[in-house]
Amino acid sequence: MVESPAAGVRPAIRERERVTVRFAGDSGDGMQLAGNRFTDETALYGNDFSTLPDFPAEIRAPAGSLAGVSAFQISFSKRQIYTPGDAPDALVAMNPAALKVNLRDLTPGGLLIVNEDAFTSGNLKKAGYTSNPLTDGSLSAYRKITAPLTTLAVNAASETGVNAQQAERTKNFCALGLVYWLYDRPMETTLGWIAEKFKSNPAIADANVRSLRAGYDYGETAELADEHVRVAPAALPPGEYRHITGNEATGLGLLTAAHLSGLPLFYASYPITPASDVLEQLAGYRRFRVRTFQAEDEIAAAGAALGASFGGALSVTGTSGPGLALKAETVGLAVSTELPMVILDVQRAGPSTGMPTKTEQGDLLQALFGRNSESPVCVIAPATAGDCFYMAIEAVRIAQQYMTPVIFLSDTYLGNTSEPWIVPDLEALPRIEVQRRTDPEGFQPFSRDPETLARPYALPGTPGLEHRVGGLEKADGSGEISYDPENHQRMVDLRAEKIERIARTIPDVEVDGPQAGDLLVLSWGSTHGAIRSAAEQAQAEGVPVSTAHLRYLNPFPTNLGEVLGRFQHVLIPENNSGHLLLLIRARYLIDAQGLNKVTGKPFTAVEIAEAIMKLSEKISDDR
């Protein structure tokens, strides 16, 4: 019998405020699984946290190859945090390839946990090492735990009678056990999870448990007291929590919007990384009467969504950047016919196919301008994983209220990152009003609501409202085809004004930090977390920086100009070459500066903090 580690004698333990750990191994090593178990445990333990998986670009690259490395990072803290951590404090490397790919991110002096069993000459060669880094001194800048994780796992697991291959495959649990010990985590949920997951195969379940404990015990016995660290629970606002990724939250938000509006959800999509998740998630919601439609391409998906809109469904089409380009003409048709529709774009690194598994914010200008002629749409972007839920609802609200397509810009980072999230109270969420025209009296398909400028929504099936819509220019009011020059100008203006009016229903942009001053960091989308962290760091060091985050890109909140006017300098960090920057400069004629990173990776807080410091020094110098 394996003794419960909790009962062992514990060496002294050190407290830390925040720790970031990265699990890295071959695709086949189960690192995502280990990371997810660690996350669940951490959640229950009560830390705030943020996670980010890093999937290999290949489906299943050759075992041991650099291309096959898969990683999962978690940052957990006793305070509120906003990012999965800049550089890991500890790196678990299950093989040489994992070490090679991830080492450069480890903090100087950080902790390396290495599965020494995997450092065979074959594996070293596959990773491109000419000598063994474990012995050639090249890792001397780091603290190191080199453990025979495979051996430990195999020995522990074999006792249960599983075969050699099965025993070997438990090594991720062995590593996890060791990390649990290092960070003094409980293991209850993990044990429960194993029992549930392998309930049809108790031997495997047992093998995994033994391997987990073997790892834990290894920590206990291997004189690692110096590395024994605890991160106390955070004082999170009370409530019921779950953890959630941005893509999950988006799917749930759409489903909830269907509930709040009473409309049937129709999601039409063509698979594309990183948006496929949402299609797959929603395809699993048949019991919620969700209809998913896997179309033959992105154009068809957009067309199907628009057709369903015409029929009154809550229509959404999801894609990533290249797919958004393909949907352009159909979105233009939705603009012209003034039908509601949500277009979800989980942005990824481009141009062209680019780096499909990497993040970027490169589609903002495409969302705004990527259609022929004057074709204004509403564009919004969630700030965090959890915010995807609320902004998805907002997208639906705006689309329905204003009879307009709404483009929702998420990205790979937001889609995949996870964070603790307060389970929303359905009853507390405002209903989404849905207008329906049924009265034939005086019906004109392109008359307008005086407040929103929305046209009436008359669904097929409504007697007496039979009418035709289309992409040709329509006469204001009647909707008949019109080539009249003045009418065209009026319609162009009306469509633009309608989008502008959306600003009447969106919240003001808020400033975090001093409400006026030298420096405002303005942002949108997934940079929110890194900027928030950076600003807190800067503020902690006495630099008086403020931040403002835009969830609404078109139209902007009405107070934005006024807010910008209160600051001497505006810094706009973006994972693109300056999209929001262009819009802000053009609209407000202020000499805002960009901080642009287009590497396929999100900003680290440090990068932004450094930019803030540099700029604020320059500002002081200039005085």
């Binding site: 669940d40 909830t256 057709g307 039979e466």
Partner: protein
């Protein structure tokens, strides 16, 4: 009957009720007028109230059609009508959804959507006006133009081999495939009515004369004087016979169709037309018969029953609700690993 809209008890409508009153904008003499007239005449027979009917089109002369029907209508973008129709029908099975398209709209830019809508067997009716030319853009060759055709964009003759719309529909395993022509109103109306009644995706090719850019494209065999000699009117369960006195028949020789003179060979084994054959082999043979070698077949080439996409989808929903219970949104939001912070 969930797929096709139920006949209502409403008073019988007339042809006029289906005219929107919008001024038709086709060239005088265009074959599109005849198709419009037959459609408007046919609609009342279906007993479906106007508000339950939607016509969706792409772009082209043909695609102006919805404007003239006093039903719901959507003049969409070039080639994409089948996608809008699919999304609409899948979410609103109570509607009767028609797609009106042209040879360019449906087979050039929109060929893939046509193929996929048909292979999914979504219960929509697709009518393709084949004038073998791009009308609206003023006369370039289309995917159905004959090789060698001289048009504005092929002054020395088109070098593209034409697409056969019926072959494409059959390759998609469409469950209803038919052909008719603008100049035979009763036949056209009958075929449109059959398409309307078919449960599943229906495809109808209509030979249509563009008197401006491709006048007389079909005249050689559709002309009233020669029609019976040069066209084969298919009827289910009937032998494939044609000729002024039905003196000609089609039989297979070495698996290829050939014409046989029944007055000379009265005992020849003439093919009998079977619209309900699961195997589309014969339909494929018919699709490829063309004048002058062979008579041009019109009528229903295939009419079979298969499960309908939107019914299968709704079936999954019902099954999920039945087996897993109706979705519990609060539980789903909570997920299976929530925790409380107090």
């Amino acid at each position: 009957m969930t797929a096709k809209t139920e006949a209502s008890a409403a008073p019988m409508l007339t042809k006029k009720d289906f005219a929107s009153g919008a001024e038709t904008r086709w060239c005088p003499g265009c074959g599109d007028y005849a198709i419009l007239a037959q459609t408007q005449k046919m609609m009342p027979k279906l007993g479906v109230p106007r508000e339950k009917i939607v016509f969706i089109s792409g772009i082209g002369c043909a695609s102006r059609f919805p404007y003239y029907m006093n039903t719901y209508g959507f003049h969409s973008i070039h080639g994409r009508a089948p996608t809008l129709a699919s999304g609409l029908k899948v979410t609103r099975p109570d509607l009767q959804v028609w797609v009106i398209t042209g040879d360019g709209d449906g087979l050039s830019i929109g060929g893939n959507h046509l193929l996929h809508a048909l292979r999914r067997n979504i219960d929509i009716n697709i009518v393709l006006f084949n004038n073998r030319i791009y009308g609206l853009t003023k006369g370039q060759y289309s995917p159905t133009s004959e090789q060698g055709k001289k048009t504005k964009s092929s002054p020395m003759g088109s070098i593209d081999r034409p697409i056969n719309p019926i072959s494409v529909a059959l390759a998609a395993e469409a469950t209803f495939v038919a052909r008719s022509l603008d100049t035979d109103p009763p036949h056209l109306m009958e075929i449109l009515e059959r398409a309307a009644h078919h449960r599943g995706g229906a495809f109808v090719e209509v030979y249509q004369n563009c008197n401006i850019f491709n006048d007389g494209a079909y005249r050689d065999f559709t002309d009233k004087a020669v029609r019976r000699q040069r066209m084969l009117y298919l009827e289910h369960g009937k032998p494939m016979r044609f000729g002024d006195n039905d003196e000609l028949g089609i039989r297979l020789n070495q698996l290829e169709p050939e014409i046989v003179r029944l007055d000379e060979e009265p005992t020849a084994e003439i093919l009998t037309h079977d619209q309900h054959r699961a195997d589309p082999g014969i339909a494929h043979l018919l699709a490829r018969m063309s004048y002058p070698e062979m008579p041009v077949p019109v009528g229903v080439m295939r009419d079979i029953e298969e499960p309908i996409y939107e019914e299968l989808l709704d079936g999954q929903i019902d099954q999920a609700v039945a087996t897993q219970g109706p979705g519990d949104l609060p539980a789903l939001l909570r997920g299976d690993a929530s925790w409380r912070v107090t």
